[in-house]
């Protein structure tokens, strides 16, 4: 499928310029619109907050999973492209892992304090922190890629 061929340095440079230009275009195109971050943040906030009820069962977890899945699918159909969920570089992968762990701590922390100490406001507070974290990260991504005002 592939074969070796030698090309001149200036042709290679032109090709690399094209790669850089199209790569940037792809990145720009894959950035979710502003309402995407807001939408996911609201779903997560509502889902976490549902644990403030006496016995919500599995409903909040299902609500978050289904809500985020359906919302992401709708957004992809709407904008016609979707950025990669997993980053390419190791530091970015560690950062993502850190965020996921942080959100899980908030999620299970909220459930623990509600069940053990009967503190109904804790899941609401952790939901607010989780929602704000997601919103600010999406805003930061847009700013980083030059798509925010």
């Amino acid at each position: 499928m592939s074969n070796d061929k030698s090309i001149k340095a200036d042709e290679a440079q032109d090709a690399l310029d094209t790669v850089e230009r199209m790569n940037t275009a792809g990145q720009q195109r894959g950035i979710a619109p502003r309402w995407y971050g807001i939408g996911i943040a609201i779903i997560v906030f509502v889902g976490f907050s549902l644990y403030a009820q006496q016995d919500p069962g599995n409903f909040p977890g299902i609500f978050i999973a289904l809500g985020v899945g359906l919302f992401a699918s709708y957004s992809r159909d709407k904008i016609g492209a979707m950025g990669r969920a997993l980053p390419d570089t190791k530091p970015a992968m560690w950062a993502l892992l850190g965020v996921v762990i942080f959100l899980l701590i908030l999620f299970f922390g909220g459930i623990y304090f509600r069940r053990v100490y009967d503190l109904a406001w804790i899941p609401v507070a952790t939901g607010l922190i989780a929602g704000m974290t997601i919103f600010l990260l999406s805003k930061e991504e847009r700013r980083h890629l030059g798509k925010d005002d």
């Binding site: 592939s2 340095a9 199209m22 790569n23 792809g26």
Partner: protein
Amino acid sequence: MTKARFDEIIHAPKRLQICAFLMPLQDAEFQVLRDELDVSDSVLSKHLKHLDAAGYVKFRKGAVNGRQRMWASMTTTGRRAFAAHVQELQRLIAG
């Protein structure tokens, strides 16, 4: 680590553009690719078929608002081949 390797399938100008555009994306709709490359449907289809035959891209079809749409994405093989090709280009420039 990816080994630098020139790939003639990827190096064709339009296919290079398609791959470079798809690299940072999970997938992109056919229309989005067509508009970004400023080519006709048939030209884009031809290049995508080449990449598909090499195992570098894959397709997903689905209906949105009752209309059939197609999304293209890079395969793992395609991503590796593209990274190797870019490395080879960089090597050529470095001399």
